[in-house]
Each structure stands twice: as C-alpha cells, then as structure tokens.
Amino acid sequence: MSTAAFEFGPGDFERVAIERRTQTLSRPSVSYWQDAWRRLKDNRRALISLWIVIALAFFTLAGPLLWRVDPAAQDLDQVSQAPGLPQVAVIVEPYVPWAGLRATPLAAPAGGPGAAAGAGMPTDAAPTGLRLVEPATTQAVRLAWDPVPGATGYQLYRNIYDTEPDGALGLPVAEILDPAQVSFEDRLDLEAVPYWYSVVALDANGAEADGYVTLRVETSRVISAAEAETLGWIDDAAAVAIGDEIVLPYHPLGTDYLGRDMLSRLMYGARVSLFIGVVAPLLFVVVGIVYGSAAGFIGGRVDQLLMRFADFVVALPFLLFMILFKIAFGIGPGESGIFPMLVALVLLAWPATARLVRGQVLQIREEGYIGASQLLGAKTTYLVLRHMIPNTMGVILVTLTFAVPSVIFTEAFLSFIGMGVAPPTPSWGSMSNEGLRTMLTHPHELIFPAIFISVTVLAFNLLGDGLRDALDVRMRGQE
C-alpha cells in the first residue's frame, strides 16, 4: 500500500443525477385539449358538422367577395325567377308601333231579331281564328282574330295559368269598343313565360258573351340593343347585331319577389344570422362567466343575492321580453336593428351560463390544487384566471355551441314576426317570412333560407353533441 497521501480535490467528485425509476412516461403526455381533439376526430357526425360550419363561415365571409352582387339591387326583368341556368335575350330592332288589323264588322246573323248591329249576337258566340300575327316576344305580343258577326267590341284577358280547368280567364288587359278592330297588341309587363290569351265578344249593351277563345302564347325574351346598353347588360350597343344572343345578369338561385338576387341575399343574410348567432352567445357567456365566478368565489350573502336576481331573470318569458326590449330600444331610420337584438339577447340569456359557471367554481374551489396554489401565495385573480376559468372552459365551450342554434332560431323567429332586423337588411328569418307569402307559386323563395337555417342549426347541434362527448368528462358516454 502506497503511503502517498491522497489529496482529494473538487475535481474528483462528480454530481450524480437524481434518478427515479419508479415512474416513467414512455409515451408523450396528452393534454386535455389534445385528448378532446382526438375524441372529436373519432366522432364522424361531429366532424362533418365541423366542416359544414367551416363551409358556412366561408360562405358568409368570402362569399360576398366572390359573388359581387348587391343584395338590395332589384332586377325587375327577372322577378321571382326560379333557380337555373342563365337567361338569354335576343337582340331585336327597337319597338315600332303597330297599327293593328281591321276588318269590316259583320252584321248580325240573318233572321236575328234586332235591327241594330250586334243586337242579335248569340250569347254564346265565340271569336274564332285567334292567332299570333308575328312571333310573340317580351317586346310585344300581337294577336288577331276573325270578327264575330254582330259583335260591338271585344274584351281581352291574359292569364299566367291554363284557363282550361275552371274557365278563369285571368287579368282583363283590354276592352276594344270598335267592332272593326280585330287585333290587339299586348305590351304590358311581359315576361318570358307562357301566357293564355282569351278573347270574348261584346254585345250591343257592352255585355260579354259566354263563349270565348283561348290561345297559349310562348313569349321569347328579346331586347333592343339600346335598351340593353341602358340596363348595363352590354357595354356598347353598336357592337351587337340583330339576332345576337346576350346573357342576362345571372341568378344561380333565382330571385325573390322584388327581383333581388337570392344567392347574394342568402350570403348577406348569413352575415346577419351568423353574426348574431355567434356574437350574442360570446357576449352573454362572458357576462355569465364574470357574474357566475364572482358569485361562486365571493360566496355567502352576495352569492345568495346575485343568484336570486339571476333566478328572476330566468323566470322572465324569454321571447315576450325579447320583443319588449326590441321595441324599447327602437330602430331608427336606416338602421338594421342588429344591435338592439344583441343587447336584448345578452340582457336575457346570461343567467344560464352564470349558474353553470358558479356551480363549477364552487366545485373547483374545494379541489386540492386550489388549496396548494393558495398556500404558495396565489392571489384571487390569479386563481380565477389560471385555475378556475381554464378548468371550466370545456363546459363553457359546450354551452356556447348549443347557444348558437338557439340564438339563430330566436333571430329567425323575431324576423319572421317582423320584430327582427329591419328591411332591406336580409336575414334568413326575414327571407323565410317573405318567402312564405309566395310559397305556392315560387317555393324556392322559402325553401332556400329554410334549408340554410335548418342545416346551420343541425350542424351546430351535432357539433355541440360531439364537443360535449369530447370535453365534458362527466357527460361522457351519455346520450
């Protein structure tokens, strides 16, 4: 053994790393939100709903940038147009007045009792030979017929439905009191639809005969070059020739009863409906969080008082007070009425969230980690912001998702009874209301907004179900 003295210096020692092998994490840890996302991704219905919601957001935000049509602009040449392909019009010569056709009035049939012309016209006399003098266009429909013996004049009717089933002749368009006049030119508000024209002969007293003749007329859409330029359909009237086809402003989803573009209105309506549907829940959830966490955290008498007040607000009949508040705030001229609706919604809808958050706060307050945090000197604001709110976030998010469809419903309901947004601002609810009036003849005006409301509400409901399953641990597995 060597007697050389060992001199130990600091360099001879090395720090041993603390190693605890009792527990190792061999997989990366999954946070609450990662876990929730994983669960949501497995839920096919929720995922499809999420995509629908994203598509709706795109439709609302980017839609009006891509489809630049003014939702308030009226296209009076295409009122209540059904959805379909673009309409075309043929360029024709400008309108030239027409003198019409004349014929020698025929006397009453021989042997008639009356001496005066027409007195002897049989009561069931019907004109014959009703024909188009030239092809019918939206510029003019020119009709002619053979004179009726003994008639003193003719009455003309136009119908947009077939007259056959019940003999309804439709709109009286002209009364001709000259028996020699056996033609008629119709220029009244013609559209490119089929018309049924009827002619009835008038007797000596000006009364109509029972018989009539009807002609179905298909008008073709035409326009003169100058008119098309005035309407802005073409840039230069000189550049088109007679017989050219030009394409009218296109309305893929048709137009409403005032000739406004449905697609554009649906997009702008989505802005209103979704804006209220998303912003109002956000606002009242924030109010509810502040109110509920204050009540839950302060506790005692303050809590009692705050919650009693919330109970009263809950007891208010919701829709009645929505209407009352809407009237109370009033809508000035030129305002859309979105802001009063938001305020009314926030005033009435916060207590549900407040109750929920209060319950959560009361529960979390007793948790161990809160005690530990308090021991380490955490202040109240820190506790609320760092521990309470993040831990109630899941429940709040679920409430938020379910609040969206109910608010959209409320907006639609109010707009439907005329208490929602003021015209001309479109919203899906007010569009449905307008569409309901023309439901029988132009169902697309009701069906499109109705589909949009339904799909949006459905998507948010299913997304809410999925989020609840993914986020709310206690509700998991329940249906």
Partner: protein
C-alpha cells in the same frame, strides 16, 4: 311540503311583480308613443288623450297606478281599439290559445314518451335510427317553415281528394285544431323524445329491472311498471319550460294558420305599439308561465317521493 309550496308561491308572486315592473320600464322607454300618430296634430286633443290614459302624470305616479290596477286584475283599455278593454281581449282570445297549447302539450308529451321509449328499446336498430333522424330534423327546422310546409301539404291533399279533408286555416271545430297543434308540439316532442330516450337507456339495465326480470315478471309489466314510470320523471321536470316554449311558439302558428288566439293579438299589438295590450298580455302570459312552472314542480313532488324530502 306545505312550507315548500308557500315558499314557491311567494317566489312566484315576486317574479310576477318583477315581470310587471320590467314591462313597465321597457314600455315607457320606447321612443315615440301610440298618440304620436299623423292625425293628432292638435295640442288640445293630444292633452285630452294623455289625460284619459294618464300619460300626463309623473312617471312614478303612473307606475303606482299601473301596479294598483294590475293587482286588481285590471289591465286598462286598448289604445288602438278604443272601446275594448284588455281584459276582454284576453278573456276572448286566451281560451283559443290555451286550447291550442294544451293540445300541443298533450301531443308533445305523449309522442315524446312513446317515441323515446321505443327508440331506447330498439337501440341502434332501424326504428331507433329512423326516429332519431326525424327528431334531429324536428329540432333543426323552424316552426314557421313546418307550419308553411304543412299548409302546402294540406292544400295539395285536399286538391288530391277533391274535398276538404282538413281545413288549411281558421279555427272553430276539432278538425281545425289537429294540424296546428301537431305543428306547434313538434319541436317540443322532438326534444322530449331525446330526453326520454336517454333517461330510458339509463333505466333499461338498472339493478331493479334485472331483479324484476329474474323474479319472472312479464316484460310488459316490467316495461310499464318499472322502466316507464322511472324514465318518465325527467320528462315531467321539463314540462314547465316546455309549456312556456309552446305558448310563445304559438305566436307563429297562430299567425300562419290564422287562428284568433292571444298570440296573434300580441304580435299585432306590438306592431301597432298598443301600450296597454302589450303590457297586459305580457304580464298575463308571464304570470301564467311562472305559475305553470311552479305547478309542474309541485306535481313532480307528488309523483316522485324522493323529491318531497327536498
């Protein structure tokens, strides 16, 4: 139980007072008033009218008079139909709304319980899938769309048979009531079906059900006496709010089907700014709903002994 009832009733009265006050405040902050029409330019006429309706007094005095009249059950005279008392309007039109509402609630509750139980029994099989799809549809489609489409359907149905099988609109006979009450109850029925299904699913394999089965009880008896009775409880709890939803939902159905109910009058009064009718109907509806909820809660106590302990 008695103490609980009294407590709830006192709470109810305070709530109604709160509703009345909120209505008063809301109505008196409305810009413009029903007297500021185009015709009444004469100052004297205006002053006389204001005196008649008590609008010339200080606001607080107006409030006291209003509350005094309310407690006596006098809602005043309509502003737009000058010889009609609001009480008469309510007495005349509320029974119509109530009939419609009761029918709708009965239909919604029976339908909800039946479909909910059915879907739970046939879980994940065809009837379940079909009914739950319809339920989701019923929750997602607004009532005015359902009302409009069902009217359209009725029109074509009547046209198909050539005779009027069911009237498209109006009120009077039992036939008039069928379709509107179905439409009105549809949303609530969908909601109750969902609720009934989930509560039935919890019950369906509960211990006491297994015991009953092992005792050899017939399946119908187990279903009726053990499963249905227990699963129905949550449905009864939400019936109060459901009645509220149905009553206010009645506005739209009454409007679309041209039913002379109170809801239609309310909407009309709102559009014409008829102060007294709005205040009267709001307070009346509010009180009605508050006490309906209390009633349902009390009934719940009788049905479920566990709640009676409170």
């Amino acid at each position: 139980m008695f103490r609980y009832t009294v407590k709830r009733l006192i709470q109810g009265v305070i709530t109604v007072w709160f509703i009345a006050t909120a209505t008063f405040i809301a109505m008196h902050s409305v810009p413009g008033d029903p007297l500021s029409g185009e015709r009444l330019t004469n100052e004297e006429i205006r002053a006389n009218l204001e005196a008649r309706y008590g609008l010339d007094r200080p606001l607080f005095e107006q409030y006291l008079i209003y509350m005094g009249n309310m407690t006596r059950g006098d809602f005043g005279i309509s502003f737009t139909q000058q010889n009609r008392r609001v009480n008469d309007i309510i007495r005349e039109h509320f029974p119509v709304s109530a009939t419609l509402g009761i029918l709708a609630v009965v239909f919604a509750a029976l339908g909800g319980i039946l479909w909910g139980a059915l879907t739970a029994l046939f879980r994940n099989r065809l009837p379940d899938v079909v009914i739950m799809f319809l339920v989701i549809l019923g929750i997602s489609v607004p009532s005015f769309v359902v009302a409009g489409l069902s009217q359209l359907g009725l029109t074509s149905l009547n046209a198909l048979f050539g005779v009027s099988i069911l009237p498209v609109a109006g009120w009077g006979t039992l036939l008039h009531m069928i379709v509107p009450s179905l439409v009105l109850g549809l949303g609530t029925m969908a909601f109750l079906t969902r609720l009934m299904r989930s509560s039935m699913l919890e019950i369906i394999n509960a211990d006491f059900v297994r015991t009953a089965r092992s005792k050899g009880l017939p399946p119908t008896r187990i279903f009726l006496k053990h499963q249905l009775r227990n699963a129905i409880l949550p449905v009864i709890t939400v019936l109060g709010p459901a009645i509220a939803a149905i009553t206010t939902g009645g506005f739209v159905v009454e409007l679309v089907f041209a039913i002379p109910g109170l809801g239609r009058y309310f909407v009309q009064a709102v559009q014409q700014l008829d102060y007294t009718v709005i205040m009267g109907t709001t307070v009346f509806y509010g009180a009605f709903l508050v006490f309906m909820v209390i009633l349902v809660d009390l009934v719940y106590g009788f049905i479920d002994p566990r709640v009676r302990l409170e």
